[in-house]
């Protein structure tokens, strides 16, 4: 476990920690809704330097982890269809579905390829005109505009063998869904930095207004995260609930409007199934009617057997903030990064993988 050794400026970090300790009186629970924050918090031992009255919970902030088993099963079924080259971000390869994973199917002979960007998936489509190239469109608002661009580009170039299977998810509706469930009494959200680069701070306003929950958008440096915790503590101690930006070098009130326009042109909001939470209305993105021809769901006849959840896996509860990774009986025993039972241990940004890697325990 490393503590402050990696802070770029330990003096500032120490001062922030002291300020938090001085200011924070009430017992509070804050949730980070971003896998990159989860990693940074674990890596830098932030949980351990905070006073005992502040708890940090990890929420549904890893797109790989929140992808429902049924959707992974469907992706695998598409990858197995004849004449398909299935392309995906590397994170999804090892995530177990009900019966197998994309990596497992590749070992069995399916043509599954890892790409870094949809630009690469499009190149594969151009290089293989006799194949159907499907991209597994996983990701939050950060990623969705880049996928939308690939659709516009395929349309412009007349590429007819490129499709996406969209399981995109939107962050603010999931935050509201967790509050509606009422299982965890939260005092504040550490809002995701790069999602907010795209959407801005405006879409969180309803959380502060309607639910009276403080929101601070944080950057990724340990100091950024400490600063965002300080801002949340200040709000709570002052009895306020508002949206503040602690990541000013990347985020504005309105966000990247050009990216939002691209997203709105290509996608429409749809209900989406989140692992551990279930279907959340208007929390996903489906291709809009103008671009239906690129939708793998329209092209392939996908028929999968009923889903099966891994026995004993607590990913669902962990994603809702009800359990911490080390509360799961499989954690570190029957479930490790080498041999993961659930997605939160597979993805490097999953809570379980972060806790395991950096040795966090109760």
């Amino acid at each position: 476990m490393r503590y402050l050794s990696e802070y770029r400026d330990p003096t500032i970090a120490k001062k922030l920690i002291e300020d938090i300790k001085r200011l924070s009186k009430k017992p509070v629970k804050f949730m980070e809704v971003c896998g990159t924050h989860t990693v940074s918090i674990s890596k830098n031992g932030i949980r351990q330097v905070l006073p005992e009255n502040i708890s940090l919970l990890s929420g549904p902030g890893c797109p790989v982890c929140v992808t429902a088993n049924g959707d992974i099963d469907k992706a695998i079924a598409i990858a197995e269809a004849p004449d398909v080259i299935f392309t995906t971000f590397g994170d999804m390869m090892k995530v177990p579905g009900s019966y197998s994973s994309l990596a497992g199917k590749r070992a069995d002979g399916a043509d599954v390829r890892i790409v870094y960007s949809t630009l690469d998936a499009l190149k594969i489509a151009k290089n293989n005109p006799d194949k159907k190239v499907v991209f597994f469109a996983v990701g939050f608002e950060t990623t969705a505009p880049t996928i939308a661009l690939s659709i516009l580009e395929a349309h412009r170039q007349g590429i007819k063998n490129y499709f996406i299977y969209s399981v995109h998810k939107l962050v603010p509706p999931a935050m509201a869904a967790l509050l509606n469930l009422g299982e965890v009494k939260l005092d504040g959200f550490i809002c995701p930095g790069h999602v907010s680069v795209i959407i801005g701070s405006k879409p969180y306003e309803f959380i502060a207004r309607d639910y009276k929950i403080s929101c601070v958008i944080a950057g990724f440096e340990p100091i950024d995260i400490l600063q965002s915790i300080y801002m949340l503590v200040s709000q709570v101690e002052n009895g306020e609930a508002k949206v503040e930006i602690g990541y000013k070098r990347g985020v504005s009130f309105l966000g990247n409007t050009k990216a939002q326009e691209v997203m709105e042109e290509v996608f429409r909001p749809c209900d989406a199934d989140w692992r551990g939470i279930g279907v959340i209305p208007e929390s996903g993105l489906a291709l809009s009617n103008n671009f239906k021809g690129f939708d793998a769901v329209e092209i392939f006849d996908i028929d999968v057997p009923p889903t099966r959840e891994p026995v004993g896996c607590s990913c669902g509860e962990i994603l809702r903030g009800v359990k911490l990774p080390y509360d799961c009986k499989l954690f570190g025993k029957a479930c490790t990064p080498e041999n993961p039972a659930g997605p939160c241990m597979v993805s490097t940004e999953g809570s379980c993988a972060a806790y395991y890697r950096y040795g966090e325990s109760s």
Binding site: F89, T118, I124, T146, I198
Partner: protein, 85 residues
């Protein structure tokens, strides 16, 4: 997965593309989501596209940090894993 890294625009190319230096490695990046990007300016890159312009000071701070925590190496590795053919 929402990881985005800062890079410096090295040259502008056709079709709104650019070569961007990320952690000492030049990578082709799409500029369709940002406006009026010039050579030597800094952008935040996610999944092959610039998602925002950032100022030099912010970019350099972030680069230092990413170097320290090894994430630029991870990006380079992601690139190596790429299976285009």
């Amino acid at each position: 997965m929402c990881l985005a890294v800062p890079g410096k625009v090295v040259r502008l190319k056709d079709l709104d593309m650019a070569d961007v230096e990320i952690g000492g490695v030049e990578t082709e990046v799409g500029l369709q989501l940002v406006s009026d990007v010039k050579v030597d300016e800094y952008v935040l890159v996610h999944a092959g596209y610039a998602i925002n312009k950032i100022d030099e000071e912010g970019a350099k701070e972030m680069m230092e940090l990413f170097k320290e925590i090894g994430e630029l190496d991870e990006i380079a590795k992601l690139r190596e894993d790429d299976e285009i053919s």
